[in-house]
C-alpha cells in the first residue's frame, strides 16, 4: 500500500516523466523530500544557518525570508499555513521588510528577544522595550500596530512609543500606525538588496541568461555581497525573479525579464 499522499491518486497515471525531472537534483540537505511530510521548522533552521552573523557584528538576530521557504518546498499553500501556525504558537516573528509588499522576514522569537535586549541594554529605552517584549509579543502576532491599539490595549504612552521607534523595534508606517521591526534591520536590507542585485546580474550576464544552480553556488562573490551565495539563490528562486527549470544536470536558473 502506498502511504505517500499525492495530490492526484496514481490511478490517473499522470505523465510522471514531467514531474519526475524535479527529483534529479535532490542531493543537498535542506531541500524537501517531495514524498515526506512538510517540515517548515527544520527548513527554517537550515536557512538560519546560512545567515552571516559576523557581518553585523552579532547585533542582529538571524533573519530568513518567507519566500526562501517557497524555493525549498513546492507546495506554497502548505508552507503558508504551517508558517501561520508557527506564528500563532509564538515561535516565529514575521515582520515587513519594507522594500517589497511581499517580502516578509522571519526571526525566531527567542533570537529576536535575546538580540534586541542585548542591543539596548543600559540605554534609556531598556524598560520600555522589555515591557513591549513581555506584553505585546506573546499576545499579538500582528505585523503592524496602530495608535489605538497601543494606547488602549497595551497601555503604552506616547513617549514610550517614541522610545520604541527610536530603538528600532517599531518603524513608522503611516500617521498613527507602525510596523513591527527588528532594530538595525536597515543594514540588513541594504546589504541584502545589494547582494540580490549582484547575484541577479551574475545570472543575467551569463550566456543565454541562464546558469546551472550548482555552478552558481560555486562561484565566488565580490566583496559587495555579504551573504553566502546559497542564501541569495534561495531568495531569487523563491521570489520568482529567476525561473527554475529542471534539467538532467540539475536545476537551471534562467533570468526572468520583468
Amino acid at each position: 500500500m502506498n502511504r505517500k499522499r499525492t495530490l492526484i491518486s496514481d490511478a490517473f497515471k499522470v505523465k510522471k516523466r514531467r514531474l519526475a525531472e524535479n527529483t534529479f537534483d535532490k542531493a543537498s540537505c535542506g531541500e524537501a523530500d517531495p514524498g515526506g511530510p512538510l517540515d517548515i521548522k527544520s527548513s527554517l533552521e537550515y536557512l538560519m544557518t546560512l545567515f552571516p552573523r559576523k557581518v553585523f557584528n552579532d547585533s542582529l538576530p538571524r533573519i530568513a525570508m518567507k519566500h526562501q521557504l517557497y524555493s525549498l518546498h513546492s507546495a506554497k499553500t502548505l508552507v503558508d499555513r504551517q508558517l501561520n501556525l508557527l506564528r500563532e504558537q509564538g515561535e516565529v516573528v514575521i515582520f515587513q521588510l519594507g522594500f517589497d509588499a511581499d517580502a516578509f522576514g522571519l526571526v525566531f522569537t527567542s533570537d529576536y528577544k535575546e538580540k534586541t535586549l542585548a542591543g539596548i541594554a543600559g540605554t534609556e529605552c531598556q524598560d520600555t522595550v522589555e515591557k513591549f517584549m513581555n506584553k505585546v509579543l506573546p499576545s499579538c502576532t500582528d505585523l503592524s500596530f496602530n495608535k489605538e491599539k497601543m494606547l488602549k490595549e497595551f497601555l503604552f504612552t506616547d513617549s514610550e512609543i517614541t522610545q520604541l521607534v527610536k530603538c528600532g523595534v517599531l518603524t513608522v508606517r503611516d500617521a498613527g500606525s507602525w510596523w513591527l521591526s527588528v532594530p538595525n534591520a536597515g543594514k540588513f536590507t541594504k546589504y541584502f538588496i545589494q547582494g540580490r542585485k549582484a547575484v541577479l546580474n551574475m545570472v543575467k550576464k551569463a550566456k543565454y541568461g541562464e546558469v546551472l544552480k550548482n555552478e552558481l553556488e560555486l562561484r565566488r562573490t565580490t566583496s559587495h555581497v555579504k551573504f553566502p551565495m546559497k542564501y541569495h539563490i534561495y531568495d531569487i528562486m523563491g521570489a520568482e525573479l529567476v525561473e527554475s527549470i529542471p534539467t538532467t544536470s540539475g536545476t537551471m536558473l534562467r533570468y526572468v525579464d520583468t
Partner: protein, 433 residues
C-alpha cells in the same frame, strides 16, 4: 445511464493513427481503471466517481493533437472565445480586427484528422461589423439563436445568428472591456457591461434599454461575471484594485468588497487595505459550482475567494505573470476532482490545481501571447486563442490500445474504429504454424 453516456463520448473520439506512436502497453493504468469500472459495475461506487476519475485523467493529459485544428480566419489576434452551453458544439471567437467567427467543433467525417470549420463569419466586409477590436463575445445562454459581442468601438451588439445582423445595438461612452450575461437567469435577462466608466451598466435584453447602474468602483471596470449559482449575484473587477460582489436586487451598493488580507489591517500598507490585489484586477472567474471566485491581477498574483463570505482562501499560486492591459480570461475545469484552472501566461497556458495552488503543467504551443482560453466541459478539451491569430485545441491524450488487441481483432472492431495502419498489419506470419 451516466456510464453509457460516458462511453459514447469517449469512443466518439477516433483514435489517432499510430504512425508516430508505437503502441505502448500500460498495464498499471488499465488495471486501476478496471478497478474503477468493476466497482461501478457491481455498484460499490457511485457512477459519478468513475466519471470524475476519467475526467481528471483526461485533463491531466492535455496536449496539442496533430489531428485537431481550428480554421484560421482571424487576421489579427483572437481576444475572446465562448463555447455554447446547450450542446457544446459551436464556438464563437472575437478578434482584434473586429471580426466574429462561429466554428463547428463536432467531428462528423469519420476520420481522425479534423479541422473545426467556420460556419459563419461577421467579416470586415459586413455592413454591421465592429469598427475596432472585439473584446468579449458570448452566446445567448439559452440557445444559439443569438450572441452578444462588445467592442472597443463603444458598442455592444446583439446578433441574430441566422442572418448575422445585429438585432440590437447598445452605445456607451467609453471603451467596453467586457460583458456577461447570467447563464442561470430565469427571472431576468440582464447583461452586465464593464466599460471605462467606473459605473457598471446593466442592460436589459427584453426591453433593449440600460436600466440599472451599479456605483461603487473608482476605476475602469475590467471584468464582470455573474455567479453560476445565483442569478442575482454579480462580481466586478476594476482597475482600482477592488473586486466588488453585488446583488442586483439591492438598491444600495455592493454586498462586499474582497479583501486580500481578510480584514487583517496590519498586513498591508494603508493604501492597500481592503483591496483584492496590489494592482489592477483584470481576471475574474467563478468555479463551475459558483462556490469559489478566482481573481487575477497585474501584481502577478491569482487569488481564490469563498464567494459567499468574500474570504480569501489564501491559496498560494506563486507568480502568475499578468501583463494584460484588458480583461484576462481564465478558465476552470468542470467535473474533475481536483479542479484545475487554466491561465494564459505569456505565450503559454499555465495549469494550476485549484485548491492546492501547485503548477501542474504549462501548455506551450502558441507563437505569441495567449489572450483567452475556454474549457469544453463535455470532452475535457481546452481551446486557447492568442495574438498569433491561431486557436489551438488541447485534447486529452488518447489511451493506447493494448498490444494484444492489434491485428485481426482490431479490424473487426467496428466501422467507427480507423483501419489498422498497414505498417502494423500482420503480413508475415502464416496461419499454418
Amino acid at each position: 445511464m451516466v456510464f453509457s453516456i460516458l462511453l459514447i463520448r469517449l469512443t466518439h473520439r477516433v483514435p489517432s493513427s499510430g504512425l508516430w506512436r508505437t503502441p505502448v502497453l500500460l498495464p498499471q493504468c488499465s488495471q486501476r481503471q478496471q478497478g474503477f469500472l468493476t466497482a461501478r459495475r457491481i455498484g460499490v461506487d457511485d457512477p459519478v466517481r468513475l466519471r470524475r476519475a476519467e475526467s481528471t485523467r483526461r485533463v491531466l493529459s492535455l496536449e496539442l493533437n496533430h489531428d485537431r485544428d481550428v480554421d484560421r480566419i482571424h487576421g489579427n489576434g483572437v481576444n475572446s472565445l465562448d463555447i455554447e452551453v446547450i450542446e457544446g458544439r459551436y464556438m464563437l471567437s472575437g478578434g482584434a480586427d473586429g471580426v466574429v467567427v462561429i466554428y463547428d467543433l463536432e467531428n462528423n467525417n469519420k476520420k481522425p484528422q479534423y479541422t473545426c470549420k467556420a460556419v459563419g463569419t461577421v467579416g470586415r466586409s459586413s455592413r454591421h461589423v465592429h469598427k475596432f477590436s472585439v473584446e468579449t463575445v458570448q452566446w445567448y445562454p439559452h440557445d444559439t439563436g443569438m450572441f452578444i459581442s462588445s467592442s472597443f468601438d463603444k458598442t455592444m451588439k446583439v446578433w441574430d445568428t441566422e442572418t448575422l445582423k445585429p438585432a440590437e445595438v447598445f452605445h456607451f461612452e467609453g471603451n467596453v472591456y467586457c460583458h456577461h450575461m447570467s447563464p442561470v437567469a430565469r427571472k431576468h435577462t440582464l447583461i452586465a457591461v464593464g466599460t471605462k466608466d467606473p459605473k457598471v451598466q446593466l442592460c436589459d435584453l427584453k426591453s433593449g434599454s440600460r436600466i440599472h447602474v451599479l456605483q461603487g468602483h473608482r476605476g475602469e471596470v475590467l471584468s464582470v461575471r455573474w455567479s453560476p449559482r445565483y442569478e442575482h449575484i454579480l462580481a466586478t473587477a476594476s482597475a482600482d484594485s477592488r473586486v466588488r460582489v453585488w446583488d442586483v436586487r439591492r438598491a444600495s451598493g455592493s454586498l462586499f468588497t474582497l479583501d486580500q488580507h481578510n480584514g487583517d489591517k496590519s498586513k498591508a500598507a494603508t493604501e492597500a487595505v481592503n483591496t483584492a490585489h496590489n494592482g489592477r484586477v483584470n481576471g475574474l472567474c467563478f468555479t463551475a459550482d459558483g462556490l469559489f471566485l478566482l481573481t487575477a491581477g497585474t501584481d502577478d498574483r491569482m487569488r481564490l475567494w469563498n464567494s459567499a463570505t468574500g474570504e480569501n482562501t489564501l491559496v498560494n499560486y506563486g507568480k502568475v505573470t499578468n501583463s494584460s492591459r484588458t480583461c484576462l480570461r481564465l478558465a476552470v475545469s468542470r467535473g474533475c476532482s481536483p479542479d484545475f484552472v487554466f491561465v494564459p501566461c505569456g505565450s503559454s497556458v499555465a495549469m494550476y490545481s485549484l485548491h492546492s495552488g501547485e503548477l501542474v503543467t504549462m501548455l506551450r504551443g502558441h507563437y505569441n501571447n495567449v489572450d483567452c482560453c475556454e474549457f469544453h466541459p463535455d470532452y475535457q478539451e481546452l481551446y486557447s486563442g492568442g495574438k498569433d491569430c491561431n486557436i489551438l485545441a488541447w485534447v486529452p491524450v488518447l489511451r493506447q490500445p493494448d498490444v494484444e488487441e492489434e491485428g485481426p481483432a482490431a479490424g473487426r472492431a467496428g466501422g467507427q474504429q480507423a483501419a489498422v495502419n498497414p505498417a502494423y498489419a500482420d503480413a508475415w506470419s502464416s496461419d499454418e504454424d
